[in-house]
């Protein structure tokens, strides 16, 4: 956080970010890993603990702030992005983070989310996407697959899921990424990249809810499956995947296709090369579309990273400009604006 690192920050360890509260997630929950990776990364982001605030809504994932030894606000369901936005506007010096769930962010909180994106307010949003409502014990969520059988859909869900990455892109988000609870290294990299970004940073994290939706992402996280099902996006690198790194993604028009790069007509050089900084977000959008395509690997990594002025700095700028132009506010002058008259 460029604007907060005024003084040399203390040297922390992951432990410094552990609060004294018992962690109350179900044993085996993917949330533990997200917490651990965050605590591992935070010593490096160059911000003092006192200047970090975690804001959340309601859900299993939204208990996150209690476990981080920073400031924290456990808000109400769906409102974390906007509570965080208000805080960031009032206090641009703080590093403001949001922990949220797929219900919290995309169901009740969808509007605040897309508005945060378009404003490009400098907050970082970590979506714990377990494709289920955990805390309320297992109803389907806006990211659950069509046909899902849950407590509230005993006959199968008839909702088409959101593609959170595509939604964020459609809402003009400047940093859009995806990672996995069970890939600690990757998750750390992405959290670090979000910390470095100035502007709204959105990370969709696939997270296993082992109680109500166990294994939803095992094809993307477990050895022997993930190799064929995940393609890692890296800036300026071609899209290669497969257990033997023998496959790649090639664009046919706008359509990504799998090609073999071993003993085939194609080589590395024919593959789509990722460019996360593309200012038009079309490439990112094409990549986002691979997510629900059963024939294509799921991309993880940074889809898009671009820069534009943030809402909080623009707001501060206007204040400064106003003061420059008019001088610091003088109450007596303000009171006496317009027509006045004197009664003796």
């Amino acid at each position: 956080m460029a604007d907060t690192a005024v003084q040399e920050p203390k040297k922390y360890t992951a432990k410094d970010f552990q609060s004294d509260q018992d962690v109350r997630w179900c044993p085996g929950c993917g949330d533990y890993s997200i917490l651990a990776q965050t605590q591992r990364v935070f010593p490096d982001i160059g911000v003092e603990k006192k200047d970090i605030v975690w804001v959340s809504g309601i859900g299993c994932s939204s208990r996150f702030p209690y476990y981080m030894e920073t400031f924290g606000l456990h808000g109400i369901h769906g409102r974390a992005p906007i509570i965080a936005s208000g805080l960031k506007m009032a206090r641009p010096d703080l590093s403001v983070w949001v922990a949220t769930g797929d219900g919290d962010l995309l169901s009740i909180g969808g509007n605040h989310f897309i508005h945060a994106c378009r404003r490009n307010i400098d907050i970082k949003v970590l979506l714990f996407n377990n494709q289920i409502y955990g805390l309320t014990k297992g109803q389907y969520s806006p990211t659950s697959e069509f046909g899902k059988i849950t407590k509230s859909t005993p006959w199968g869900s008839i909702d088409h899921p959101f593609n959170p990455v595509a939604l964020a892109l459609g809402a003009e988000c400047t940093f859009v990424a995806r990672s996995l609870d069970r890939d600690p290294k990757h998750l750390q990299t992405i959290i670090r990249a979000a910390a470095e970004h100035t502007g709204t940073a959105f990370i969709e994290i696939y997270q296993n809810c082992n109680v109500f939706n166990d294994g939803a992402f095992f094809h993307l996280t477990e050895k022997g499956q993930k190799e064929e099902n995940v393609v890692v996006l890296e800036h300026n690198k071609p899209l290669i995947f497969g257990a033997n790194n023998d496959k790649g993604i090639r664009l046919d028009g706008f359509t990504p296709k799998i090609v073999s790069i071993e003993n085939s007509e194609f080589s590395k050089d024919d593959l789509l090369v990722h460019d996360e900084n593309k200012n038009d977000d079309v490439l990112a959008f094409i990549l986002s579309r691979m997510t629900y395509d059963p024939d294509l690997p799921t991309p993880v990594g940074i889809f898009r990273k671009t820069y534009k002025p943030t809402y909080d700095t623009e707001m501060q700028k206007q204040i400064n400009k106003a003061i420059e132009k008019r001088g610091e506010g003088d109450l007596d002058k303000l009171f006496n604006e317009g027509e006045t008259w004197v009664v003796e």
Binding site: G86, M89, A90, T340
Partner: protein, 617 residues
């Protein structure tokens, strides 16, 4: 200085007070005309009170009755509490304006109409079969048919302006005529014109000419034989300006932010009649006021809560439907025990209701509109300028008690105006805020012994890292806690904290004798009408007193005592009996309501009659 000298052969009569109603199409500039007349009258030293009344449509088709926009001003040489029940003079720019407002003109009152507005088409749109100017139906009134449009056009003839532009100047002619009639200073309006159109010299010229044409018309024509003089009122010495409730409310907040050293953060979403608070505050960025137009009302308050958590003075302003949306978040603010000011500029309801009309029916919502026991402080402003005082007070209570405060205003005082005795910034009470910094044994939910307020410990403070949230929390530590006894303790604390505010607010003041036959208890914008009615009744020798409540939760400590000293208690409200219900419940007194829900304020006469009835019966 341009002055308004009388033609010597016309006589001048001195009168104590006048009510003028300007009415025309939404596009006729009646709000502007009204507010110019107001300024001029204020500068003439009168006390006054105004009431603009405009349609919900932005610009309804010309000539329709529902498109009529009106502005009423009541000014006088004595204390003026209301914009007047009925008007003495009606300025009507078209038949619809006449039709809508005639019923509020006193018998024998004066009508000034724009003759050109009474076209067959307009007559029909207003629902007149025949022209009322000709059919004798107005014989009860003194009617002046003036060729306002034509005379304006004449005055501007050589300026080569489009006919639309010329037509838009006609309200200045009407204004000029009224200035002449009531001997008002013209200078303020002339300089306003110069300022307003500073980049359009032709409009300066046009409007100035129209104004003067009106002025001279009064002077010259034979039809107006009398001018009126309304002497200055005996106001408290000081510098005055005219102010609407919404402007006063905004200034009160800015002042409180400055005096407390806090930066203000307003989260708001536009809604009639609260939008002007947002508009006004948006202008004052050099006071470090951050204003945020949010995606909705929930976002507006949530952002303000975030800001308050960060140490700003969090504010949000809205009206009924928006208020309903904020309730869940207000519950969170109660739980977080953060200071927050929530201004509810009430309007007619339920649901979308009558957006541009006034009502006082959100008191229950303010008191009880949240899930579970979520008590907070509720204040209400009584007059436009009182909005300043009560906004300031709302901030004081919020930061001292670490609590959300709901400030109730309404469309009537929000848009209405009155002279405001401008305070000196240095005379305003200093507001103390100390953010907690001490790391030793820091407990986010420890409490001040006297106020029960918890410490305000903001991010950025070393060693105070802690978590707060909407789940029930442990006494002192603020950690999540579901234990039964703890919940009871916390519920009690939150209630007790609000009750203790009663130790810190002025006693309720009785206007009149401390005991007697009848006590009127009012709150909010009914202040003026009740005050006038009580004055009149007392003149008639009745034993009537008046208490006007600005603190609705908690009530002033002496309120019970006051109530018990009267034989009867009347609670007039622009709702179905909300305060009266609270009083009955708390004090078990047989308060009776006088209730009107018509989107309009009380008339003094209505109240006077009700008082008569009660003291008779």
């Amino acid at each position: 200085m341009e002055t308004n000298k009388a033609n010597q052969h016309k006589k001048t009569e001195t009168i104590e007070e006048v009510v003028i109603h300007f009415a025309g199409d939404s596009g006729d500039g009646m709000q502007l005309t009204g507010s110019q007349f107001t300024t001029s009258s204020a500068i003439a030293g009168n006390d006054l009170n105004t009431f603009p009344d405009f349609p919900a449509e932005i610009r309804a088709p010309a000539g329709t009755t529902y498109g009529v926009s009106g502005f009423q001003i009541h000014f006088g040489s004595r204390k003026i509490h209301t914009p007047g029940d009925i008007s003495d003079v009606l300025v009507a720019m078209n038949p619809a304006a006449l039709r809508v407002n005639l019923k509020h003109l006193r018998d024998g009152g004066t009508i000034i109409v724009n003759n050109q507005g009474f076209t067959p088409k307009n007559l029909k749109l207003a629902g007149y079969d025949k022209n009322p100017l000709d059919d004798g139906s107005l014989s009860n009134y003194q009617i002046h048919k003036v060729d306002i449009s034509k005379l304006t056009a004449n005055a501007l003839e050589d300026l080569n302006l489009g006919s639309k532009v010329v037509d838009r100047c006609k309200n200045f002619f009407a204004l000029g005529l009224m200035y002449w009639m009531y001997n008002r200073p013209v200078e303020p309006t002339l300089s306003w014109i110069k300022d307003k159109f500073k980049n359009k010299p032709e409009l300066i010229e046009a409007n100035t000419r129209a104004l003067k044409a009106g002025l001279h018309y009064g002077d010259i024509t034979e039809i107006f034989t009398t001018r009126y003089e309304v002497r200055p009122a005996k106001l408290k010495p000081g510098t005055y300006r005219n102010i609407t409730g919404n402007a006063a409310l905004a200034l009160g907040l800015v002042a409180a932010a400055q005096k407390s050293g806090l930066e203000m953060y307003l989260g708001a979403y536009p809604i009639t009649p609260a939008s002007d608070v947002l508009h006004e505050l948006s202008r004052h960025k050099n006071f470090k006021v951050k204003t945020f137009q949010a995606e909705d009302e929930i976002a507006a308050i949530s952002a303000a809560i975030g800001a308050a958590y960060g140490g700003a003075l969090g504010v949000t302003a809205t009206s009924g439907p928006g208020m309903a949306l904020k309730m869940e978040a207000i519950g969170l603010a109660v739980m977080l025990e953060l200071p927050l000011v929530i201004a509810d500029i009430q309007r007619g309801g339920p649901s979308t209701g009558l957006p541009t009309k006034t009502e006082q029916a959100d008191l229950f919502q303010a008191m009880f509109g949240r899930n579970s026991e979520a008590p907070l402080c509720v204040l209400a402003a009584a007059t436009p300028s009182d909005c300043f005082t009560m906004a300031y007070e709302a901030v004081r209570v919020a930061i001292k008690y670490m609590t959300p405060v709901i400030l109730l205003s309404d469309g009537y005082i929000a848009n209405g105006s009155e002279p405001w005795n401008i305070p000196k910034a240095s005379d305003l009470e200093k507001l103390d805020v100390t953010f907690h910094t001490d790391q030793e044994n820091f407990l986010p939910y420890s409490r001040d012994k006297k106020t029960l307020a918890r410490p305000w410990a903001i991010p950025g403070t070393s060693g105070l890292e802690h978590r707060v949230g909407g789940l029930e929390k442990q006494d002192k530590t603020g950690n999540i806690n579901y234990e039964p006894e703890n919940h009871q303790i916390m519920v009690n604390y939150r209630a007790e904290k609000i009750e203790r505010i009663a130790n810190d607010i002025p006693d309720a003041a009785v206007d009149g004798d401390k005991e007697g036959d009848l006590l009127i208890v009012g709150w909010g914008s009914t202040h003026g009408a009740i005050t006038s009615a009580v004055e009149r009744s007392r003149t008639k020798g009745k034993s009537v007193s008046h208490v006007h409540l600005r603190y609705l939760n908690p009530f002033p400590k002496n309120l019970g005592e006051i109530l018990y000293n009267f034989k009867k208690i009347l609670v007039p409200e622009l709702n179905k009996g909300q305060l009266s219900s609270l009083l009955r419940s708390k004090y078990l007194v047989p308060a009776v309501g006088y209730n009107k829900v018509q989107g309009l304020p009380f008339k003094t006469a209505e109240l006077e009659n009700k008082i008569d009835e009660l003291l008779r019966g």
